[in-house]
């Protein structure tokens, strides 16, 4: 029953009784992958949509590099990508400005990029709690693949 902490621009995998937890998602997106047969889970906390750098050193930071890496690590542990499904949380717009700059649209752009990366890996998104303007803390449980989402203002929900 270990809670494995996933930082910002970070990812990790778990199985058995363990869970994966990441805190304070704002415009960042939490990508929760689950293989129901092996009960292997993977969680990534991405900050930005895409990295154009093929030699990117921090692959966990970008949607387009984190998704393949997460799948790879889960498969090393014994999961199979054909059985995986995804749940997403985050991608909020924390601030509203009078003039909407690209920076402010980063949340929705992150969500779009994650979905595109998952589509390329043919992993279906089965549930999501994205957008809005609130921060989220999420925990992914390997026993059943449930994703518990905690917000500061709207309480707790489970996907």
């Amino acid at each position: 029953m270990t809670v494995i902490r996933v930082g910002m621009a970070d990812l990790n995998v778990a199985d058995g009784e363990d869970s994966l937890r990441t805190t304070g998602l704002g415009s960042c997106v939490g990508i929760a992958l689950y293989d129901p047969q092996t009960k292997i889970t993977g969680l990534a906390h991405i900050m930005l949509p895409t990295s154009a750098n093929p030699n990117e050193t921090n692959r966990a930071k970008y949607a387009n590099t984190a998704v393949p890496l997460l799948i790879e690590l889960m498969e090393k542990k014994g999961a199979n990508r054909r059985r995986m499904n995804a749940k997403l949380a985050g991608g909020a717009q924390m601030f509203t400005f009078a003039g909407q700059s690209d920076l402010m649209r980063i949340g929705p752009r992150n969500v779009e990029a994650v979905k595109e990366a998952l589509r390329l890996s043919t992993i279906p998104v089965v549930a999501e709690d994205t957008g809005g303007n609130c921060g989220r803390t999420i925990e992914l449980f390997s026993v059943d693949g449930s994703l518990v989402i905690r917000t500061a203002k709207q309480g707790v929900s489970t996907l």
């Binding site: 805190t23 304070g24 998602l25 415009s27 924390m94 920076l103 980063i106 921060g135 989220r136």
Partner: protein, 206 residues
Amino acid sequence: MSEEIRNLGEFQLSVLREVGNIGAGHAATALSKLLGSEIQMNVPRVSVVGFEEISEIVGGSEQFVIGIFLRVEGEIPGSIFFLLQVESAKRLVTDLVGSMGSAEPDEFSEMEISALQEIGNILAGSYLSSLADFTKKEMSPTPPAIAVDMAGAILSIGLVQLGADYALLVDTEFVQGARNIEGHFFMLPDPGSVRILFHALGVDIQ
């Protein structure tokens, strides 16, 4: 760019600490005038930090805080955050808004929000004008935006802008002892600004 920031030495950081100290002094004086009571500030901590460490300063990424965010535009672009615990923020604006405040302990009325925005304007404006005097560079703050939420979620908007895994952080703590108010004023120059900033201060970096 990330490497450049990690290689900053103690001397460079101390120069920025001194400049930050003067800027924060101006900001504290301006805020004291607005509030009619004395605000103290600590000597800024200037450090090179990873993403996670920034929210640790205010009690962890899940800590419920109010964040006032301004972008710095001009020759040395960057981000400014003023973060306060919700209770501290409430106490800070009480005298300014009087009966126009929200009665709920963790909610802010429109009047309280605009008072906090004004505080953000004053702090950032006086801090930046002092920094502009030192550097002879032009910089100005955008209008402030406010969010009440988890610290990590609020700060992430500044961190995504960095494009690097490390940030140069100037952290100044503001304290109003009598009413137990404390807040953190963060300045995060964009990675591309770091070299320009130090060059303008007369300390070139490698």
